[in-house]
Symmetry: C2
Subunit: 311 residues, 2 copies
């Protein structure tokens, strides 16, 4: 890879990870989490979600979290904004990136938000208009971009057309989500090529899940196809802890190490990030996170500590 290459990671753990946590995470811990992620070098952090607390009770304190976030130069905070009611909360909190979300497959969209894809786009329109007027950056998540749990295969052309429609509505960045982790490298390359026909490469991010262990292989495939923006979740936080085998976002540490080893800058201090995940595991969630680099690094630290003790 050429020297000087950089990637931008969007940390989605505080939103996409914590929204699935079964226990209550204190508002203060959520704020601490985002603050520490920014201190570790993450520059795009999805902090919470302004969907209805009825849908996602775990993020019912979104307004409190958002208002308590420390402003850090160069750091943008994002949040999900499903409709104009969410937009008002987003604006009151003064965050930076408003994210809408829609599925590439009709059945998944209907099961997720109880309306068609076309109806979702119409719901976004006033949010995106308001964001443009306010000079607020927007992103759109396109779920099931590599496959749908209800419909099976999803055509790359359909994803590309949806991405194009979102850009036409004013979205600044499209995050293509492999929601169920079925994608494979050749598919990701083909998907990126198809979507790049509608959206500039710099406006495309990949949001890859690790259900079958292929998230990093797919990150690499996306990078090879020209993508420089990737979503990730600290420690691999996310997925559903109740469903054995169900797995969430690719771990931020794993993405950082993949790139930094190859000389691609992420801007993230990996040791500091491991500290954040270790704190989250031990002090907040009281369970192990699935990230591989996190586990390997903590194992190295334990062995180094044991060696110091015995000598």
């Amino acid at each position: 890879m050429p020297a000087g290459t950089e990637v931008v990671l969007t940390e989605v753990g505080p939103r996409d990870g914590l929204q699935n946590e079964p226990g209550v995470v204190a508002t203060a811990d959520k704020v601490t989490l985002v603050r520490r992620l920014a201190a570790a070098g993450l520059r795009e952090i999805e902090a919470t979600s302004f969907v209805s607390p009825k849908w996602i009770p775990a993020l019912a304190d979104a307004d409190d979290v958002a208002r308590a976030l420390p402003r850090v130069p160069g750091v943008r905070y994002g949040a999900l904004v499903p409709n104009l009611a969410g937009w008002e909360r987003f604006r009151a909190a003064g965050l930076d990136v408003a994210a809408v979300f829609v599925s590439a497959s009709e059945t998944h969209n209907r099961r997720n938000v109880n309306c068609s894809v076309a109806e979702s786009l119409e719901r976004f329109r006033p949010v995106l208009d308001a964001a443009r007027e306010a000079g607020v950056r927007t992103r759109a998540y396109v779920s099931t971009a590599c496959g749908c749990p209800y419909e099976g295969g999803v055509a790359e052309g359909a994803v590309a057309r949806l991405a194009g429609a979102l850009v036409a509505l004013g979205v600044d960045e499209i995050s293509l989500g492999d929601t169920i982790g079925v994608g494979y490298p050749a598919q990701v390359r083909a998907l990126v090529e198809a979507v790049a026909g509608e959206v500039p490469l710099s406006g495309i991010a990949l949001h890859l899940h690790d259900t079958y262990g292929r998230a990093l292989a797919n990150v690499q495939a996306g990078f090879d196809a020209g993508i420089r923006r990737f979503d990730a979740s600290l420690g691999g936080l996310g997925g559903c802890p109740y469903a054995p085998g169900a797995s969430g976002n690719v771990a931020t540490e794993d993405v950082v190490d993949l790139f930094e080893r190859a000389g691609v800058a992420t801007g993230v201090d990996l040791d500091a990030l491991v500290d954040v995940s270790a704190w989250l595991e031990r002090e907040v969630l009281h369970r192990r996170l699935p990230g591989r680099v996190l586990r390997a690094r903590l194992g190295e630290r334990e062995r180094a500590a044991a060696a110091r003790t015995t000598t």
Copy 2:
């Protein structure tokens, strides 16, 4: 990927996986394991090791295992053969592929087998001569090919020269091992290119560990560079269960799913392989294996069974 493309997987679980198991696995269970792996479609199976039982007590029953293996047309059984004493045991057992092993880094080789790399090659010479005379296929493992836990970086050129020396000694297949899992895709591509200057691509296999979650990304990189032979271990069996974060071979199920999704034939029946790993977990090892596709598939089966029960 072009239609009709095939890869050959060498299943190393019965040797590389079980040699690290802390508990005693019954000889009959080892034989059953190999038999079921062959029935699932694996055509190259490393069944055991003829190193001294003093070194690897877990495989002290190598002679009994090897003699009990059912002959299956088209299936080759391999074993580690460190010296002429091991060769005699290998021949008595009538196996098909004799494997020698050496590290790409001097320090790792010395710590592993207490001699220099050059001395290792001299020890192999009579084994490889005897194998050639007997018409027995040989492979050589080159460990630490992407990095050494003691020396750090390992130069691709050094690995290529060692591979060339092994081929000059008569080795049929070189298995390049990323023993500590530090490799990344661009490095694997460069390594393959370097070694391919000394060894035909068809004589190179990749043996990738998943310590940092990059094994599948590296498998894909190797494939993209022309490699068609990969080592893997059912369920990701291997590594050291006592060292948190230490991780072993890439899981065979994960490699099979990576390739089959992309239309590359492995010859392996994934459902049958998941059955083998599930049996090994539940009936033999009494612990969970780390393979991702295994966990996902077993989760799908549980949910399907629950759905049948409730309807």
